[in-house]
């Protein structure tokens, strides 16, 4: 037989002093009895308490004696006109029935032997509940997060820039093709394309220039890496002038040609 761990008795304190056992034949102040009964989770819990107090195994319980003890408490409560949950009265009735049955001779017909025996059923319930109380005790004794151990968390570096899915060139080109196809449907713009290199250089030239600042045209050209580069830069500059983005200034004949961003406020 597996050993039963004795579960801690419900501790009742009256006037600051713990009461573990009620003197059975002494006068009990009504409040004390009420507080005492309040410490139980219900009739099963109370019965388990009465059994444990005798320090015996549930399976060896003397049901007749248990019934007497139980009924004594319930009667005391009723006598003192204390409120008692209906569950306690139901249990009292069940115990009374068990007791009365024990006095009767066992019925001869035993078709449905164990199922109907209220005693067996009661013991089964008591045992099941005791197991659960044991389980509760196991849980209670587990080290618990926030009581016995605490989560460790320390400062860590922040996340880097969010990664991006690869955008393949083919997708970019497909998108451009789509745009062009749609634009040709609307047809309202006659889109003219300069060679890309000129377009790109237009951006470079603009980026080089600061508002209100002029650079000499030859400086711009000298940025060009090759003969073809010079031509491209020249074309880009002309295009920008045509689009009204650049201003071209020559202060004297044959003097250096100055290029600058066109003043927006002008």
């Amino acid at each position: 037989m597996a050993q039963l761990t004795q579960v801690e008795l419900p501790l009742v304190k009256i006037a600051g002093r713990p009461v573990e056992q009620l003197p059975e034949d002494l006068y009990i102040p009504p409040e004390a009895l009420e507080v005492f009964m309040d410490a139980f989770e219900g009739p099963l819990d109370f019965l388990l308490y009465l059994i444990r107090r005798q320090n015996i195994d549930i399976l060896k319980v003397d049901v007749a004696r248990l019934t007497e003890q139980y009924v004594a408490y319930v009667d005391a409560m009723r006598l003192l006109k204390l409120e008692l949950a209906a569950d306690y009265l139901v249990m009292a009735a069940l115990l009374a029935e068990i007791k009365s049955r024990a006095l009767l001779p066992v019925q001869a017909s035993d078709d449905d032997e164990e199922i109907d025996d209220p005693r067996t059923e009661l013991l089964r319930r008591l045992q099941e509940y005791e197991q659960i109380q044991k389980g509760a005790e196991h849980i209670r004794q587990r080290p618990e997060l926030g009581r016995d151990f605490f989560a460790a968390q320390i400062q860590a570096p922040e996340a880097g820039p969010r990664p991006v899915t690869d955008l393949p060139l083919s997708e970019l080109l497909a998108a451009m093709a789509d745009v062009m196809r749609r634009a040709s449907f609307t047809d309202s713009h006659q889109v003219k394309y300069e060679p890309l290199s000129t377009r790109a250089r237009m951006g470079d030239v603009l980026a080089r220039l600061q508002p209100g600042e002029f650079v000499s045209f030859s400086d711009l050209l000298s940025q060009a890496e090759s003969r073809a580069g010079v031509v491209v830069t020249f074309l880009a500059t002309l295009e920008l002038i045509k689009e009204g983005l650049l201003e071209i200034v020559q202060t004297q004949i044959y003097g250096p040609i100055q290029i600058g961003l066109r003043d927006g406020t002008a």
């Binding site: 037989m1 597996a2 039963l4 419900p10 989770e41 219900g42 009739p43 099963l44 819990d45 399976l59 949950a85 569950d87 249990m91 001779p105 066992v106 032997e113 164990e114 005693r119 067996t120 013991l123 089964r124 319930r125 045992q127 099941e128 509940y129 197991q131 659960i132 109380q133 044991k134 389980g135 509760a136 196991h138 849980i139 209670r140 587990r142 080290p143 618990e144 997060l145 926030g146 009581r147 016995d148 151990f149 605490f150 989560a151 460790a152 968390q153 320390i154 400062q155 860590a156």
Partner: protein
């Protein structure tokens, strides 16, 4: 190109400390780029080494249902608990018994709980258990009214430092004893009559 052991341990320690929840071996593996990712077996080996290196320190590596996490050493708990104004919450007997019932007998309905404990279960208790994410509804029993069936969660295991429910000590050991008793009782009654 495998990472050296000591670097692997460093990375795992740092990641486990940086994250405020348990991390599975799988998730720990995700820290590494594909070409350097250690096999699960090597990760577990490294975790065991880290665990060893925590002997006598103020922290320990704990494996629970959801994975690994660093927690403070239990021996330091009385001091660490002073960091927080409120003392840790005490649970009522009704709450712990209800939790135990769900843990040991899952899945169960509220009716099952009430019939075993012999008293009604307050809605407050079920709500508290659900709010703490310790129990959840896992289905409905196919009986009239289709009552909800409750079971415990991973968070329950994590909270109590358990890897699985098996780690809770068994409580049914005496069930066989009951069967013995029943037959004994019957034969007794038989002889008595």
């Amino acid at each position: 190109m495998a990472l050296p052991d000591h670097q692997l341990r460093q990375i795992l320690e740092a990641a486990l400390l940086a994250v405020d929840e348990p991390m599975s071996v799988d998730r720990l593996g995700q820290l590494f780029l594909e070409h350097e990712r250690p096999a699960p077996k090597r990760l577990k080996q490294a975790l065991a080494e880290i665990d060893d290196s925590c002997q006598g320190r103020g922290f320990q590596l704990l494996e629970t249902a959801s994975g690994w996490r660093f927690v403070t050493a239990e021996s330091a708990a009385p001091w660490v608990a002073r960091l927080w104004q409120e003392p840790p919450r005490k649970y009522s007997r009704a709450l712990v018994e209800t939790l135990a019932l769900i843990a040991y007998r899952q899945p169960v309905t509220r009716g099952d709980i009430e019939s075993i404990r012999g008293v009604s279960v307050s809605s407050g208790i079920m709500r508290t258990l659900e709010e703490r994410s310790w129990v959840r509804v896992v289905g409905h029993k196919e009986v009239p009214g289709r009552p909800a069936l409750y079971a415990t969660t991973k968070q329950f295991l994590d909270h109590f430092g358990l890897k699985s429910l098996d780690q809770l000590p068994p409580i049914n050991a005496i069930e066989d004893g009951l069967a013995d008793l029943l037959s004994a009782t019957e034969s007794n009654e038989g002889t008595n009559s």
